[in-house]
Each structure stands twice: as structure tokens, then as C-alpha cells.
Amino acid sequence: MASERDNDVKFLDIPSPPNVHGLDIGLKAKWGRGNQLYVFPSPSEATELVFELRRPQQQPQAQIHEVRWNTDMYSPITRKLVNESHNTFKALQKFGSEINETNRRTQLVKFSRRYRSVMKACVIDLQTSIDGTIDESEKQEFMGQVQLFEIIELIWSLCEILFIENLKGGAIMIHLLDWVKWHFTQPNELCQHALQEDNPENSSFYWDAIYSFVLQGRVGDARSLLALHSLKDTDTFTSIDELLRKMPIYADFSGLTLGEFDLKWRYWQEECARRLDDGDFGHQKNLETICKILCGEDQVFVDLCDLCQSWYQMVISKHLYTNPTVKAFDLQYHIQPCIDAFGGNSQLATLDNIIHAALEFDIHQVIKESSAQLSNWWFSAHITDLLHHAGQLDLQKLNFGSDLREFLLLEYSTSLMSHESLWQVGASYLNHCPEFGRAYLEHYVERIPLTTEKIAQKVLRLCEQQELYESARSICKVMGMKALQNGRLGSALSWCLKSKDSTFATYLSEKFLVEYTDRGDFSNLDIIDNLGPAMLLSNQLTFLGKYCEFHKMYADGDFKAAASLLLSLLTARLAPKSFWMVLLTDALPLLELDDVIFSSEQTYELMHILEEISLCDRLENVQAANEYKENKEDNKSESKNKAKLEVGKEKVELLKIGLARNLARAIVVEGNVQT
């Protein structure tokens, strides 16, 4: 829930299995991605030992609980905010890197306004949801979020005025008055109430509304309300009306310099003071109050503090009527008395603290307070980044996380990481953290759950972009293993080729070959057929590829090529020993063909290989016989072994006959050619 942080320690109840032994079962935890922890009940080593001794079979059932925090940006409405502000952030980074002094301030203000409009849109969406929902708890949640975002927007717009726009003396006041007018709409409500009655002047809201308008510097509205009074034509009323009408308001384009405006204003205020002292408003207490406000008397502000609503509004009103050409930096002079009027420092809430810091131009304090008090990092991260680009932030090195801007960006992106799709946004922010961004990214990338291939591809793209080649390779390996466990050998092979992992390739080729010997044909022929140069990754793989090629050639009737390929596979010792017999058996039909395929040289080679195999076999048989004598295996395995031996012997016999015949024919043919 988006709210101000509690200062209490949070507790979270994690259900654990019932306590079987009267011993406490502890908790262990492992980090997930960013703002995620996996917690599971697990006994410590000491208690584990006790379990073993007492009842080794009864191990408590383990359940893993996923704990996440800082997830208030995950709701569908705030996700829009996250995505849109991401766009603005990226545009700002791009702009920031172009060092172009002209129009810089205006552009930065534009960016600031973009952020604010996104916030405003979010607030509107939230309010629509509030109206649309009937569930009370949901309503509460939304209202909390609305409140939070309104506070954030308030602070942001104040920061925009004070820190980003480069405003001269008089112009600040105008902007601040606008700020007050748009964010604090109480006078409008009072006015509405007053106007609803038949006789507005008798309404209890009437004078309050007028005072509020004057305090906010909205003299036009005050005058129109006054004009509704029945006594409007009397002297006192016309006098106050005149004063209000003549109040100078600074405008950038009026052609007056600051000094000239100041002079004019002081002259006007002296006139107000004079009329007050003359007792012009003696009979009309209300009008006297108005005049006192215009003269900037301290006491009247304190008396009207309810209408000021908050001390910062009072500060602005006071400045309006004592020194309208105030510079931004001097705004802080009236702060303390206003705070006192509202109950002193002890009454200050978090929002007040932040605004206090802002008015005192203590940017670091603003950021510190808002990070500490607001429950998510969105505001702090973005405003810091904006102020950094505006050159207002002096980035000192912190004891942790390099400088302030980077620290906040890291925290913000961490809070996005455990979401199924927002991790992409988080990763994008990490790209702009020069010092630790890459390390964080490497760490997180390995933990993103690769539930579908599309996600795996996207993560791979990310790794390639950021040159995290190790992570890319490990992702390919993970996907390959997953495919293998699912029984998808072909898919595993294609991932293995991507990661260029030769050991895995060897392992997989062996699996393929085992499949072949079991089933008699290849599965996944479409991959193996078309390996191309990728088959050179490992020897086994090359063998597999070439062997398939052999079969293809054989099927196509290209016997000579097939034969030479087969021979080269055997002589190059590319084939694993276990497979030699299979290859020789494949050679058998070639030996039986009408045409002589194998030359005498080749036949000698084949015979040599056959001898080698027979030798190995005989050795194995001797060993097996010795083992049998020692272990006295049962009859079944003994008969199996015997059957195997028989088959093996038969094959060898056939091969010997075939090879001998072929040799004979080959010698004859070759002899003929020579002569």
C-alpha cells in the first residue's frame, strides 16, 4: 500500500509446519531478485542433528514462502505510471547527454511537466477506480494512493518552481501564487457555499471566502464577492475596492523593472496603511481586517491561520504582502513564525518537513526526507535525476552505492525487479547507473525466471546489449538443461549450439547415439541433418553429424562416397569405441554389393579395426569370466551374457567373411587395372 513509511519494525507471520518435536524450527532465507526473499522453515544444524537422532524419518515438510516488499508500484494503474515515466526518463537521459546550454532550462521544465502530467493522469485513473469499486478495502487502498500521489505532485511542483525554473525576483511570487491556487482550493469551496444562499453576505462563509481570496492574492475574485454586498456603494466599500483594484501585481512583460515595481508597490501599501490609520474602516470590522492583510500586519495573519490552512500558505501570503519581489532564497525568513502560529515544530508532519526543507533550499534534505518517509522510491529517484540534470545537485560520494543519484536509481530499479514484466524497465534504469549498474544487472539477470522461450530470448538480447556474455552463456545452458529434462533433445541441442558449450554437446551427442542404438533410427533428424559448421563444436557432435550424412548418402544410393565417409570416420577415430561395431555392421551391406566399393587398402583398414575390436572383446570376456567366478552371478545374467557373446561372435564371423571376399575381389579388380 502506498503510504508513508511506518517507523515501527514490521512483522510478517510465516506459517510453518506443526512443531513435531517440541523443538523450535528456525527460518532460513535466500535472496530472490531485488526486493524478493525466499523464506523457508529450516532447522539450524544443532536441531537437525537432534532430528536425526530421534526420528530420522520424520523430517518436517518444507514450504518455500516468497516475501516481497516495495511492491506498491505493481498495481495496474501505477504500472502505467512506471512505464510512462520510464519513457520520460530515457528521453531526459538522451537530452542530458547533449550539452546544449541554450533553452536548457525550458527543456528541463518541459520534462518536469511531463512527469507531473503522468502523475496527474495516474491520480485521475485512481479516482475513477475509487468511484468504480464497491469493495471497501480496495477503496481505502486507492484513496491512500491518491493521497500519496497528490502529496508527491505538490512537492514536485514546488521543486520545479524553486529549483528548476530560473526565476527572477518578482516572478517567483507569481508562480507560487499559482501553485497555491491550483493545489489548495478551499476558497473556491467557501465561495460556492456562500453563493448558494439567498443572501450571500449573511452567510458564515462569505467573509471567510473573501479573506481566503485575499490571502491567496486573488484580488479579482475578492472584489467580485465584495460587489455582492448590499452596502457595496458605501464609502468604506468603495475605498477597499479601490485599494484592491490598485494593488500592483508583478508581470514579466509589463516593462517595469523590479525596482520600479517595488517602488510602486510600496507606495500602494503606504496608501493602505494611511487609510487604515485614518480609521476609514472603523465601522466595518471585516473590511478593516482586509486592509490589515493588505498592509501586511503580522497579527492578522496569525488570527486568520485557519483560513491559511497550512504554514507554507501563510509564508507565501505573508511574503505577498510584505515583500512581493522576494527572491527564492529569501522565502525562508518568514518560515519560523508561521510554523509557530500553527503549533510549533512538534506539530510538523512529514509533508511539512519536506516543504520546509524545500523552502530552505536544502535539496539534500528534501531528498533524504522523501526517501525516508515515502514508501516507494519513484519520487526520490526521478526528482534527483532531474535535479542532477538541472545542475542543482552536488553529487558527493556516499559511503554506499556511489553517489546519491545512482543510489536512488539502484533502489528504484531493485524495487521493480521481482515483477514478471517490469523487470525490463528496471534493467533499463540500471543501464544509467555508471558504477554499480552492470554488477546489479548481472546479478539479477541470472535470477529472472525463464518460463517460456520468448522470455529467455528477451533476456539474452538484454545480455548481448550489455555485453554480459557469461550470463548469456549460462542462460543458454539453463535452457538447454531444461529442454533435456523435458525430453526435448533437439531443442537442447539447439540451445547448446548457441552457448557453444562443447562438453554439453558431447553429452548430448552421446545421448543421441544411445537413442540410435536403442531404436535403430534417429529422432530429431531435421536438426542433425542441417548442423552445418556448428557440428565442429565437439568431436562427438561432428561424428553424429557425419554419421547422419552417411545414412543420407546411403539412402541416396551414393555408395562410394558413403563408403569413404564411413572409413574416414573409423580411421580418424572420430567414432567412440562402443560404436565401432555398429559402423562395421553398417559396412557389411556395402561389402556385399555387386560393385567393389572398398579398395584393398580400405579393406585392410577395416580388417585392422575388426581385429582391434575382437581383441577388446576378448579382454572384456576374460574380465567378465573372472568377475563371475568371484561373484557367482545368477543364471539369468549369465545366460544374457552368453547370448550377447554368441551374437557378437556371429557378427564378427560374418564381417570376417565379408571382408575376406571383398579383399579378394578388390585385389583382382586392382590387378586388372594395372595390367
Binding site: R79, K80, N83, H86, N87, K90, A91, S421, Q424, V425, S428, T451, T452, E453, K454, Q457, K458, R461, N486, G487, R488, L489, G490, S491, L493, S494, L497, S523, N524, L525, D526, I527, N530, L531, G532, P533, A534
Partner: protein, 288 residues
């Protein structure tokens, strides 16, 4: 995708395919599930993603990460035909070429055509770019000339294939800098192709400015075109000029940073969805 005016066909990453009915009753829109085929795609029991669906008349075909092709009928609960080991790697996309003939692309860079009338479980033809194993992500067929097929690959390459030729693609266009997620021909003006990619670019390829003369192929990596190309309806995509940079390419959403995963085009309105959890609509496109 829309099956009929009211029915929507959807595939999910949990291996299911479902049909939803969309009703619009005086501004109140409702989407309700009507049919659900569960567990169509799984690996030894673990469900896996159903990557693409397509339909024609009343036949629906779905393909998934398990390399399986399922043929479904709206009136039956179970698939009427399953080709189990259709692909050894993930099948990424499927499209109907003609009635009873489908084409699929997979993660090994192969294009396979299947004749559903045959009862063998083997593809009728396999096309690929030899030497490469670049996964193909998407496929689309030319609306008027079903022998022309376009596919987008993981390296951002857009390839145009001629089904009547033997195995190699006819044209290779080096397009995006990252995966091409979807490619589509415009229904009524097939000289226009739309592609979208991981790097956020969405391009409108306008091939109508190229001459459609049958030409000698001096395009890279391609077999010489045979005399089959002397028809007057030869498409510009198969002509030699295609790779000589004379296509007009317009970026439809300039400045977009997040990946665009899918797109659709209908007359003059273009729609696409991106990873920024946003759907973009571009209307009033000029299509020549």
C-alpha cells in the same frame, strides 16, 4: 485473433487454447470463455507455451514449444489430429498456406510445409538457409500469391521465400538490429509489409515503388530465378531490386524504446503492442 465477428481465439503460455465470445450490448462489453482446450502443449506433463495459432474456415491449428502441431475443431473437445514430433526445437509460428496446407517456422531456422490431408507425420517440404541456425520467429504468406512467404528471424533479417523453388530464400533483407517478432503482409495491398522488432522499431515496407519486372537475380545467397518468373503478376518482393535499398521504409512509431511484440494491420489502421504495456494505434496510414 478473431475467428468470426464474435469469437476470439487465444493461445496461452500455459499450453491452452481457448475461444472467447465477445458481446457488445449497449455499451456493455463482455468477453466470456466459450471453449477451452487444455494441456495441448506439454513436455512430459509439464505444460509449456503455445506459441502460435491460426485458423481457416473452421479448422484451427496450434503450435508450441514442444514442437507439436495440433489440429482442432470447434465442435470437439480433443484435437482431431496431433503431430507429435513435428519439430525437434520450438515451433514459433504457423500459417495456413492453402486449405489443408500449413507452414511452420522453428528455432533452427527451418521453414516446413505440411499437408494435413496426408497421414504421414513428416513435413512435405523443408526450407532453410544453410549454414545458419538462426531461429525464425514469425511467418506470413502473401494474400494473393500463396507461393510467396515472408519470415522474420532472430537476427532481424526479413526473408522472402518462394515455395515453388527449392530450399533457399529468394530475398534476404537486413532489417532490424534485433529479433523481428512479427511480419505481416497487408491484406489488400500486398506490396506493403509490416514488421516489428525487439529494438522498438516498427517498419512499414513499401515495395510498390519497385518495378515488378521479372529480373535476373543478383541478390546475395540466392539461386538464380528460373523462367517461372515471367508472369505479369510477379511480386516486387521476388524481384532483384528488393535488396538494392529501393524500398521505402517508414518508421511508424519513432522514438519508441521498448520492444514491440506483435502487430496487425487492417485497411488504414495499424495496431501494435509493446513491452511498455502499451498498445499503439496508428490510423490513416497511406498505403499505396
Amino acid at each position: 485473433m478473431f475467428l468470426t465477428q464474435e469469437l476470439i481465439l487465444a493461445s496461452s503460455s500455459s499450453g491452452n487454447v481457448s475461444v472467447y465470445r465477445h458481446t457488445c450490448n449497449q455499451n456493455l462489453q463482455k468477453v466470456e470463455m466459450e471453449i477451452l482446450w487444455q494441456g495441448l502443449h506439454q513436455n512430459q506433463g509439464t505444460p509449456c507455451s503455445c506459441t502460435c495459432i491460426t485458423s481457416r474456415n473452421n479448422e484451427i491449428v496450434s503450435v508450441g514449444e514442444d514442437g507439436r502441431i495440433n489440429v482442432l475443431d470447434m465442435n470437439k473437445n480433443q484435437p482431431i489430429r496431433t503431430i507429435d514430433k513435428a519439430d525437434s526445437s520450438t515451433t514459433n509460428a504457423v500459417k495456413f498456406l492453402k486449405q489443408c496446407e500449413i507452414i511452420t517456422v522453428n528455432s533452427c531456422g527451418q521453414l516446413k510445409t505440411w499437408d494435413l490431408r496426408q497421414h504421414t507425420n513428416e513435413p512435405a517440404k523443408i526450407f532453410l538457409l544453410t549454414g545458419e541456425q538462426v531461429p525464425l520467429n514469425c511467418v506470413d504468406k502473401h494474400p494473393h500469391q500463396p507461393h510467396i512467404v515472408a519470415s522474420g528471424g532472430q537476427d532481424g533479417m526479413l526473408s522472402i521465400w518462394d515455395m515453388r523453388q527449392e530450399r533457399l530464400p529468394v530475398t534476404l533483407l537486413d532489417a532490424h538490429s534485433s529479433d523481428t517478432w512479427e511480419v505481416k503482409f497487408h491484406e489488400s495491398r500486398p506490396d506493403n509489409i509490416f514488421t516489428c522488432s525487439e529494438d522498438g522499431a516498427v517498419w512499414h515496407w513499401n515495395g510498390s515503388s519497385m518495378s515488378s519486372q521479372p529480373g535476373k537475380a543478383n541478390v546475395s545467397n540466392v539461386l538464380p530465378l528460373t523462367s517461372q518468373h515471367e508472369e505479369s503478376t510477379a511480386s516486387p518482393w521476388l524481384a532483384s531490386d528488393a535488396s538494392k535499398h529501393r524500398i521505402d521504409i517508414t518508421d511508424l512509431i519513432p522514438g519508441n524504446i521498448m520492444s514491440v511484440n506483435s502487430l496487425d494491420i487492417e485497411n488504414n489502421t495499424f495496431l501494435c503492442g509493446s513491452d511498455a504495456e502499451a498498445v499503439y494505434i496508428v490510423s490513416n496510414l497511406t498505403i499505396w
